[in-house]
């Protein structure tokens, strides 16, 4: 199960947070601080998995943004990497060559897209066309 999704810029600014497990506001800020410290300092050649508090955090860097997902110890890290890729590709297709500014100014659309891909920390749909169709339908609606 994915416990939370974070998107952090290289300067440490939070662009997206989605929590699927109960964390209070204070805990959330603490988590973000800790993970930012850990992930932003990692070199480029290192593996995309860090162990943190008994969980695993899988992350990938896209231009100036890090997308991180926190999973249980027994989950398949390589699959999570694929899910992150899937999410970013969908964003790309929706916004057209997505960049960080798009995520800032259209953050609610970003969340809508994330809600079509993940619910309760699990993947919802593996077909990209279906996801796109659904998002388009709801914008008009």
């Amino acid at each position: 199960m994915i416990h939370f999704v974070l998107s952090i810029s290289r300067q440490g600014k939070v662009r997206l947070t989605k929590w699927y497990s109960p964390y209070t506001q204070r805990e959330r800020t603490k988590v973000i601080q800790e993970l930012s410290g850990m992930i932003l300092t990692r070199g480029p050649k290192l593996c995309n998995i860090v162990e943190w508090r008994g969980f695993k955090v899988v992350y990938r860097r896209y231009a100036g943004l890090y997308f991180c997902m926190c999973v249980n110890h027994e989950d398949n890290e390589l699959e999570i990497l694929e899910i992150i890729q899937y999410f970013v590709e969908t964003l790309n297709r929706y916004f057209g060559s997505v960049c960080e500014l798009d995520l800032i100014f259209h953050f609610h659309q970003t969340y809508y897209i994330l809600d079509e891909i993940l619910i309760a920390g699990e993947l919802q749909e593996s077909s990209k066309t279906t996801v796109h169709r659904l998002i388009d339908a709801q914008v008009i609606c």
Binding site: Y20, L46, N76, L81, K128, C141
Partner: protein, 875 residues
């Protein structure tokens, strides 16, 4: 237009915030916006609610408090239009979490939306419920969600499935309701529904055993077929990821097959073919393919054995391990840890690669590799592996050193073939990374050192060298100080040289120098300095020539700010100066510390005896009154199979146990003895519970007893006493006692006395005799009252007569003050003293006791010792 009215568009607000150069500017902008939003909220404005909530969410993401907007979410959710509902639900998910009570208010809206005609609105409600519902909400809305599992639209079905996952996690009792719907969902064709249904099935199986059995029986074959179709399906662009068709579905299927096949041979059989196919056919040049292979290997490892598959799996892992991609290597190391339990040999073949991974530049890989290495180590490869790890310790990062030292120490401890190798390795580790080593580690090292008596000389010399070179590592300094204090004489005299050693000349002064330096070092902490003081005390006894110099060093700490050091300094100084006769006994060689009790204690299972904190037995010398009792009591456990300690140290131990008695209670007993012995006799008799009214009448009789030694009167007088306890007033012979005891036996008015025991000559030599008389109270067979009486057989008078006794663990001993401490000669008088012994193993073990009698004869100190093991069996 005022840019900060509530009419500000979201875009403009974001732009304004981003344009701020300082945090203070940003705060000002945010404050203005919040103010206008708050005004709009209290005015209950409808038009801009949507926009205001979006702005509020952005402000929330920046980190500012936004709880005044929570009710806005609810109002928006209750609105009829889709965009309002959408933003309302988004706000709900972002600004609230499941613990807030406001969430309960949404339940009704959710219920209505779950029944809505617009499928997208139903989708919104399911999404919100699935992400943040609390347990109460889950219970309330579960029936709706169950119904939606069979909705006409597949998108709603898939969201309902994921929502159900959250429901059963929050309320596990409801799991059985979902089993049947899921079974039918698993037969669908729609990939999204299949994906989510499989996930729900997996979670159901983890929560409920019955569900697992049900799915195993009914669905395994169907799922295998679905996997076959998925693997063999032709190219379909909508599912294609890096050339593989729907890897997500394949991974989920592999996972559910793992859960179903685990522990069940039949289910596992059904899967063999497809697993082999996946393992061989999947391309592994892209991440998606590797993800599938990884999942496949996990599944093969978990289900029941079918030889060929396992070999395939380990081969795949071997390939992963040598892949250049770091993620793949990480994943491989992870999997290999599970593979060890299945085929350890195969994993051993990759040992060299794994060792390389320990030195990798990537911290995650290093950690995994280190854990794997600690699982791989066994007796045959422990020496080269440890050497590699210690070599790496020198170059590793500081944050990794902590983990590495822990692992090395545990490996060395578990598998060291001989003690000298153990000591060598530990010394190297301590010299290299002593500051990262936990306390238990060097405590254990000291325990091992004491046990390796032939290596004491070697060890202390090695430590002396180590302290010169690696004096900055705290642990080394502590172990070295302890050993130098204990075995300093071996160091100076080059005793116990092994063949591989070179001779070293170390004078006594050098040794004291080393300890002085350690004690004065700026970086030494309280523990180290305290240990230095103790070591100096030991050396003052072993090196008498340096005694004055040591005294000077010790006195320097008298004014220390730290209470511990001050106290030790004062006490030790006083020992060195005034109590030289005690000193050598106090700081004798430590006994061999028992490894078994020590490691048992470390594992958290304290034996009933030891109550001292760790570290104490190693820091305080023998004999200081506040010392631990445990090792001493162990040695005094006379029924154990341990070798009897040499007699000189047994004197030491008795002294230790009763040290307080020597120093303090002798004065006490002296004081009590000032009472007249006559009244003592009276008190003894009368304190046994006889009714007070009878006191007067008996007094005369009893006094007559003591004067006449008239047995018959005694018997008659004492007949009336209700207490059977023998408290004799008699002075010397045993026969009156016998009569007294006999007198009690047949008396019908007295309650049953319990068994009677003959008196015992506990100790006898040419100058002294000691007789024990026993009695027991009925109803407490474990407690024995003993009256000890001492008789002086010589013609001289003994003064300062002190009797001490020690008993093993299963007995408890209570000594009352003696009747006097002067024993006139020639049997003209005797001293009596009462003891009470409680035998916790009454019936199983009989009493044993060690005694020690000290007295002065013509102003000369005399000492008698002995062991009494001829107690009657049933005491």
């Amino acid at each position: 237009m005022n840019p900060f009215s509530s009419g500000t568009r979201l875009r403009d607000m974001i732009r304004a915030i981003r344009a701020c150069k300082t945090a203070a500017e940003e705060r000002a902008v945010v404050r203005k916006e919040c103010a206008s939003i708050r005004a709009a909220v209290s005015d209950n404005e409808n038009d801009y609610r949507h926009r205001n909530l979006a702005k509020l969410m952005f402000i929330h993401m920046l980190g500012y408090p936004t709880h005044f907007g929570q009710m806005e979410c609810l109002k928006l959710i209750a609105a009829p239009g889709f965009p309002e509902k959408r933003i309302g639900y988004l706000g709900l998910m972002l600004l609230l979490d499941e613990r807030q009570e406001v969430l309960m208010l949404v339940t009704n809206s959710l219920k209505q939306d779950l029944n809505h005609t617009n499928q997208y609105i139903v989708g919104l409600a399911l999404c919100a419920l699935g992400n943040i519902s609390s347990a109460e909400m889950a219970r309330d809305l579960a029936p709706e969600v169950e119904r939606l599992l069979q909705f006409r639209d597949p998108n709603v079905r898939k969201k309902a499935a994921l929502c159900s996952i959250r429901i059963i996690k929050k309320v596990p009792d409801l799991a059985e309701n979902f089993v049947n719907p899921v079974a039918s969902l698993l037969k669908e064709k729609h990939h999204g529904v299949l994906l989510t249904a499989i996930q729900l099935c997996a979670d159901l199986c983890m929560i409920s055993e019955e569900a697992l059995e049900y799915f195993r029986k009914k669905c395994t074959e169907g799922l295998v077929k679905v996997l076959k179709d998925a693997v063999n399906s032709p190219y379909a662009p909508e599912y294609d990821i890096s050339g593989i068709s729907d890897p997500f579905l394949q991974i989920r299927l592999l996972r559910i097959l793992r859960i179903l096949g685990h522990g069940d041979a039949d289910a596992s059989d059904l899967m063999n073919d497809i697993l082999a196919q996946v393992a061989t056919k999947t391309e592994s040049n892209k991440n998606a393919g590797n993800a599938i292979l990884y999942e496949c290997v996990e599944t093969i490892m978990s289900i029941e054995d079918s030889g060929g598959l396992r070999v395939l799996a380990i081969n795949i892992l071997g390939r992963f391990l040598s892949n250049r991609d770091n993620n793949i290597r990480y994943v491989a190391l992870n999997m290999l840890m599970k593979a060890i339990s299945i085929d350890g040999q195969a994993v051993q073949r990759h040992r060299a690669t794994i060792l390389e991974c320990v030195k990798d530049s990537d911290a995650s890989i290093r950690k995994r590799a280190l854990e794997l290495v600690s699982l791989l180590v066994n007796e045959s490869n422990v020496k080269p592996l440890t050497k590699e790890l210690i070599d790496y310790l020198e170059v590793s990062d500081n944050d990794f050193k902590g983990d590495l030292t822990v692992k090395i120490c545990s490996i060395v401890e578990k598998l060291s073939p001989e003690k000298i190798w153990y000591i060598d390795q530990m010394l190297k580790v301590l010299c290299e990374a002593g500051n990262y080593v936990k306390d238990e580690v060097w405590h254990a090292l000291i325990v091992v050192i004491t046990n390796a008596s032939n290596l004491h000389g070697y060890t202390v010399r090695a430590l002396y060298r180590a302290i010169q070179t690696s004096g900055d590592q705290e642990a080394v300094v502590r172990v070295a100080i302890w050993c130098i204090g204990e075995y300093g004489d071996l160091l100076v005299n080059n005793i116990g040289m092994l063949d591989l050693e070179e001779p070293m000349t170390v004078t006594e002064n050098d040794v004291v120098d080393a300890i002085e330096v350690a004690s004065k070092r700026h970086a030494s902490d309280l523990t180290t300095r305290s240990m230095c003081l103790v070591a100096l005390l030991k050396l003052s006894s072993r090196f008498p020539s340096c005694s004055q110099r040591i005294k000077d060093i010790v006195t320097q700490f008298k004014g220390s700010h730290l209470l511990e050091l001050q106290q030790r300094s004062l006490e030790f100084d006083s020992i060195i100066e005034k109590h030289q006769n005690l000193r050598s006994a106090l700081v004798e060689r430590m006994p061999v510390l028992d490894e078994a009790t020590y490691s048992g204690r470390r594992a958290g299972s304290l034996p009933a005896v030891a109550s001292t904190s760790q570290g104490n037995p190693l820091q305080l010398p023998n004999g200081v009154p506040k010392t631990v009792d445990a090792p001493l009591l162990d040695l005094l456990d006379l029924s154990a199979d341990e070798p009897a300690p040499p007699t000189s140290s047994s004197a030491n131990f008795l002294q230790d146990l009763l040290g307080d008695d020597i120093l303090s209670s002798s004065s006490q007993s002296g004081r009590i003895q000032t009472q007249k012995s006559g009244t003592d006799v009276l008190l003894d008799l009368l304190s046994t519970g006889s009714p007070p009214a009878q006191n007067g009448s008996f007094t005369a009789d009893i006094l007559s007893i003591s004067e006449d030694n008239n047995n018959k009167t005694t018997v008659n007088a004492l007949n009336g006493l209700s207490s059977p306890v023998v408290t004799s007033a008699q002075r010397s012979h045993t026969s009156p006692v016998m009569d007294l005891l006999d007198g009690f036996g047949p008396n019908p008015t007295l309650p049953n006395n319990g068994p009677t025991f003959p008196p015992l000559v506990a100790f006898e030599n040419s100058s002294l005799s000691l007789i024990f008389k026993f009695s027991k109270q009925p109803g407490s067979p474990q407690i024995t009252q003993i009256e000890a009486s001492f008789t002086n057989k010589s013609s001289e008078v003994y003064t300062d007569f002190i009797f001490q006794a020690a008993v093993p663990k299963f007995l408890q001993l209570h000594l009352e003050p003696a009747s006097s401490n002067t024993l006139p000669g020639n049997g003209n008088g005797s001293i009596t003293q009462k003891l009470r012994v409680t035998n916790n193993q009454h019936g199983k073990k009989s009493l044993v006791m060690r005694i020690r009698i000290s007295y002065k004869l013509n102003n000369k100190d005399m000492l008698e010792e002995g062991q009494i093991s001829n107690f009657p069996r049933d005491l």
